[in-house]
Symmetry: C2
Subunit: 337 residues, 2 copies
Amino acid sequence: MTEPNGTGADIPEGFPASPREHLSSPTTRTVLRIQHRMLTAAREYLSAQGFVEMLPPIIGPVTDPGARGAKQIDIDYYGHRYKLMTSAILYKQASLLAFDKIFYVAPNVRLEPLETSSTGRHLAEFHQIDVEVAGASRDDILQVVEDLVRGVVRRVVDEMPDELESLGRDTGAFTELLARPFERRTHAAAVQDLHDIGHDQSPDAEIDWQAEVKLSRKVSHPFFVTDYPKGSRGFYDRESRTVPGQLCNFDLIAPEGYGELCSGSEREHEYGQIVARMRETGENPAKYGWYLQLVRDGIPASAGFGLGLERLTRYITGLGAVWQANAYPKVPGVKSP
Amino acid sequence: MTEPNGTGADIPEGFPASPREHLSSPTTRTVLRIQHRMLTAAREYLSAQGFVEMLPPIIGPVTDPGARGAKQIDIDYYGHRYKLMTSAILYKQASLLAFDKIFYVAPNVRLEPLETSSTGRHLAEFHQIDVEVAGASRDDILQVVEDLVRGVVRRVVDEMPDELESLGRDTGAFTELLARPFERRTHAAAVQDLHDIGHDQSPDAEIDWQAEVKLSRKVSHPFFVTDYPKGSRGFYDRESRTVPGQLCNFDLIAPEGYGELCSGSEREHEYGQIVARMRETGENPAKYGWYLQLVRDGIPASAGFGLGLERLTRYITGLGAVWQANAYPKVPGVKSP
């Protein structure tokens, strides 16, 4: 079905014709109640671990350039050209000047390409649980991701089994997740796995969402992909000091075909390295005034991640598409309330 | 001091020269820790009362026109002209199609006039605890505001007295607030009070922030101002069916000169009334496509409010200005990170 608004985007199958249809649907109501509980569980877990929740800005002079293929939105802020946040990464690093462990529940806006309207995985407006820890290594932060995801899943499985059942989601899907550590494989190993199933994957590039879904379909337990090659990610993913060209980063991939839930990394925090990485990735350092000034004067080493809230909700509730996990979904290119 | 960015706005006294200065200040750290606890208390209180927290959109085809004197920000959303939310009011009414009691912690962006840069009360980007209850009357919702504010204050007073003391805030300031009901006066009575102290106030108009501060300075206990005249507020504040020209709405004014914390009302929900009120307030109904369609097909009667988070934080912590209650403050007209 071609959407009627002249942008050329397809409206996904089952997409509601009106906010009324979506908001009054028993599925939406159950999903949003579960999402509320998920956020409560995440906040309680992180607060108990000493994290301070902060409120991220939604506009600023510059934002994350690392949203591959998506466009940023410009605004006029008192005559200055500002942007809507595509992610909170620059502010997460800055916020460590206030506290060693911080998190946000951050709205992001990314004008994803029209062809992503029917993937079931992309929204032009979505939320991330954004975590950053001063002094943490990648191994430290993988443990935070794992404990956070497990805690959220356990809360929903324990407290809302009837709601999951009403959505047709078998709580048995989470037995492995709740019982044992998430698995890990390197990017190089994931490339080999993809070659083994006949998927053409460059060893020097990001793994696209289609390939992530293929890997995800083959497993029943979440796994991390680590050590992406330089050039596949933003300037803030730290390059290994021992293996040049390899980034100290990761994605978390859900099982059962749900694909990527989360991206994170140790962060680059050295001024010279950041400027060099900006230049390598085609970014003009002159645009990053306040951020580079802060980095030049010194910011803490850190590691962190952004966990996609609608994607995690979709996985936990077993939905067909992420738009079902948002009250006012913005599918790329499709006009919305 | 005139700010150096050519907009003509003054930089407020004491405003930090850099994010580092602000974020590493002991005052900022203490204030943000208290704000985190305030939000935790608000979420726990509202969730225990059966409210569902939802995530509001930050962009859409139309937004609240009722932000007096402030400009909206336009964006290009796949060739459609969208706006950043100045408030979540339209979505709060719509969300009652999913749940009878909802709340958001909503970011809002309003390009306030340059002359508000040094009021200590205005931010171009700020947050509201946004509450809406289906079937509620104004009296019902006043009780929710009062219980919510008292619960948040009690939590901070009980759990963070040392932090308040370190900010120079005497917890005795809240004795009355914690002990007895908030007072109420009508708009007409507030106009008379202003006349009595020699302030020129029209009986047909909104009470501006300077006058609110004058009223606020004379008291040591919060009070509601109710029954504003039609024409002073947005189309969604319901007009009394028994006293034409009088709105079923309110503001909450903090004591000690801290001024307005919160605005709310019973909502207009009848299609014909809303269209008439839009026309009376100079709004073109044709701009409100999805919202008016929803109203035409029926939305619940409701009442609700938006409680300014930075303003409430300022009051509780006794700060001189709201920018001190935001990690990345955007003072109107002043360039920011």
